[in-house]
């Protein structure tokens, strides 16, 4: 049998999602961003929501997210994506809005914006990439950097006295009555990728159903700034990040019902 007999549409088991553009990704080999982008592209295609979806890109490595997924996008200032998403979804309640943010963007400079958007129960989905480091600016300490972790601004390891503690922002977010579905995922194995796809799908559906803010943290690797190979980075993440940032659902429901919301 010739190879040409095998390459036929009916034998196709995998193809690039139609929602991914032809642009070459700028991400480093081994980076988690590309996988998460592909999942979002697949989900938008699966749900048939290209015409209704508006993405909000952050500042950080994924600042160019708008180059890769074939939908309308807005580029926010550092940390402000949840405010943009609030403006979009409040004035366009028929649209499906999501933000895509890194740990510096969401958990440091944009803490006020994410907390208050989630607390108001804005009807959009948040995709939060937590790789414990600032990628775009060259590997400085992030709010989620682990104690002892070496970065460009913690060259002798993160010290709690000097640098404070790693921030479990997702657990804080889950406490807020405006959130519906809050989960922590990863994309380092095929099984994890499948789970993450289900989680992001659920988050998009929660936004479509106006259940409140849905939030998917993806514990991710930055092998380039961690100064590891992609394989080492996956292993380091499992051994060091998962104990502190354990994957799994944290909250699964709807925003609080105002009628039964307890204030005493």
């Amino acid at each position: 049998m010739d190879v040409k007999d095998i390459i036929k549409p009916e034998n196709l088991v995998y193809e690039k999602p139609g929602m991914l553009t032809a642009n070459t990704m700028h991400y480093c080999p081994g980076c988690s961003h590309g996988v998460v982008h592909k999942l979002i592209a697949e989900i938008i295609e699966d749900l048939g929501i290209q015409e209704k979806t508006i993405g909000v890109a952050p500042v950080g490595c994924s600042v160019f997210a708008y180059n890769y997924i074939d939908i309308d996008w807005q580029e926010a200032a550092h940390g402000r994506a949840p405010a943009l998403a609030t403006g979009i979804s409040r004035t366009n309640p028929d649209k499906i809005v999501f933000t895509y943010q890194g740990d510096g963007d969401l958990a440091s400079i944009g803490t006020a914006e994410i907390m208050h958007a989630c607390n108001r129960g804005e009807n959009f989905a948040v995709i939060f990439i937590n790789n414990g480091i600032y990628g775009m600016t060259g590997g400085q300490m992030a709010p989620t950097t682990l104690l002892g972790q070496v970065t460009a601004t913690t060259p002798y390891g993160r010290d709690a006295e000097r640098n404070g503690y790693p921030l479990k922002i997702t657990e804080l977010i889950a406490q807020l009555p405006g959130t519906s579905y809050v989960t922590r995922q990863s994309v380092h194995t095929p099984a994890a990728i499948r789970r993450c796809k289900k989680a992001i799908t659920k988050a998009f559906e929660a936004a479509m159903d106006k259940k409140g803010t849905s939030f998917v943290e993806v514990v991710s690797t930055c092998n380039m700034n961690w100064k590891m190979t992609p394989v080492q980075a996956n292993q380091w993440m499992e051994e060091n990040m998962f104990p502190f940032y354990p994957p799994g659902d944290i909250k699964d429901g709807s925003k609080a019902d105002p009628a039964s919301f307890k204030q005493n």
């Binding site: 290209q50 015409e51 209704k52 979806t53 508006i54 909000v56 890109a57 600042v63 708008y66 074939d70 939908i71 309308d72 996008w73 807005q74 580029e75 926010a76 200032a77 402000r80 405010a83 943009l84 998403a85 609030t86 403006g87 979009i88 409040r90 004035t91 366009n92 649209k95 006020a112 914006e113 208050h116």
Partner: protein, 364 residues
């Protein structure tokens, strides 16, 4: 026309927003303009026109909510006062860079820092020179009456959409807080989704349609050559504003030998000062810039060829005087340009203005 009412300047901003078909207001309380959002919340326009009103967690958030909504082709606005506008400077720069229309109201108070809650015009530089980082300008409208607080909301949106550039209504605590007779505008319907697609489909990020490429609202451009081209396009836009949309008012300038230049509440004081000076036999007129950017430099240049001098009257340390000096100098004239002003939230009296005129310009 709408009904005739006695209203506060800040309340009129809210009423004018509803009536001009505004889609959304996002704000944060700050004195002396909190009545804008209070009035909107009490009016509940979401029941009447569908307009969204949201109290944000900060001015940083409110301007970014404006960004998000404006980038979908909606007609949206915010209001604040000086310290809050400083917090918005980042977002305003991004909105100017992404070429989005919106209206920002600044009911100025004295500064720097927390300053005072009393009226001031100390944000002139911040408003007309840009305010945030990068080469950009706002369209700056300076109302001098409660009526203009009404009129400039609609005008601000018209200019913002004409140029895809943020407009600022630069008021002050006096104009915001004082009550005057106002002829309200008629109601205009909000634009429908179809109208937005038809008019702004080339840029509005309101969901990619099969008949168009995806739209991206961004101020980012990594290619220097393309970024310079963007900067040049912005500059062309500002030049077009200068050519087409300068607004000013002249009062008793025809035979005037000396010209007071003042905007906003200062121009109201100067109207009276002109009357007093005329009674004293001084030939004084008033030029009131209505657009502070684009600045009415041409008329000042023309006047400079026939008058003996100018004096700006400003509630700051002398900011607009620089633009008047430039306008006079660019016309090749060398007549004196003086400044008189009060700071710290103090409004000058007409007699102080006349006295300064005599001491600094006419007697000198």
């Amino acid at each position: 026309m709408g009904e005739l009412k006695l209203m506060k300047g800040n309340e009129v901003i809210a009423e004018a927003a509803i009536r001009c078909g505004c889609d959304g207001y996002f704000g944060y309380p700050i004195t002396p303009q909190s009545e804008v959002m209070e009035t909107l919340m009490a009016r509940e326009p979401w029941n009447e026109t569908g307009m969204v009103v949201l109290q944000a967690e900060s001015e940083v958030a409110s301007i970014n909510m404006v960004y998000g909504a404006a980038a979908t082709g909606k007609k949206v606005m915010t209001s604040s006062s000086s310290p809050g506008i400083s917090l918005m400077a980042e977002g305003i720069s991004y909105i100017a860079g992404a070429e989005l229309p919106c209206v920002i109201v600044n009911v100025q108070r004295g500064g720097p820092g927390l300053g005072t809650i009393q009226p001031s015009q100390a944000d002139y530089f911040q408003s007309v020179k840009g305010g945030g980082h990068g080469d950009y300008h706002l369209i700056v409208l300076a109302p001098a009456s409660v009526q203009e607080m009404n009129d400039f909301v609609d005008l601000g949106f018209q200019l913002a959409f004409k140029y895809r550039n943020p407009s600022m209504i630069l008021a002050d605590g006096a104009i915001g807080q004082m009550m005057e007779k106002v002829q309200l505008s008629d109601f205009k319907p909000r634009m429908t989704a179809e109208e937005i697609d038809a008019k702004y489909g080339s840029w509005a990020t309101n969901g990619k349609k099969p008949n168009r490429e995806r739209n991206i609202a961004t101020s980012l451009e990594m290619d220097s050559a393309k970024m310079e081209a963007n900067n040049k396009r912005f500059q062309e836009k500002y030049a077009k504003m200068q050519a087409e949309d300068v607004l000013y008012e002249t009062i008793r300038c025809d035979d005037a030998e000396y010209i007071l230049v003042a905007f906003g509440v200062s121009s109201r004081i100067c109207q009276k000062a002109v009357d007093i000076a005329r009674e004293k036999g001084m030939k004084v007129g008033l030029l009131r810039p209505i657009t502070l950017f684009p600045f009415p430099k041409q008329i000042i240049g023309e006047m400079a060829k026939r008058v003996k001098g100018f004096m700006t009257v400003e509630m700051n340390a002398g900011q607009m005087i620089e633009d008047v000096q430039l306008s006079v100098g660019c016309a090749g004239c060398a007549v004196p340009v003086k400044y008189f002003g009060r700071m710290g939230g103090i409004i000058p009296t007409p007699s102080e203005v006349v006295q300064a005129l005599e001491q600094k310009l006419i007697g000198g």
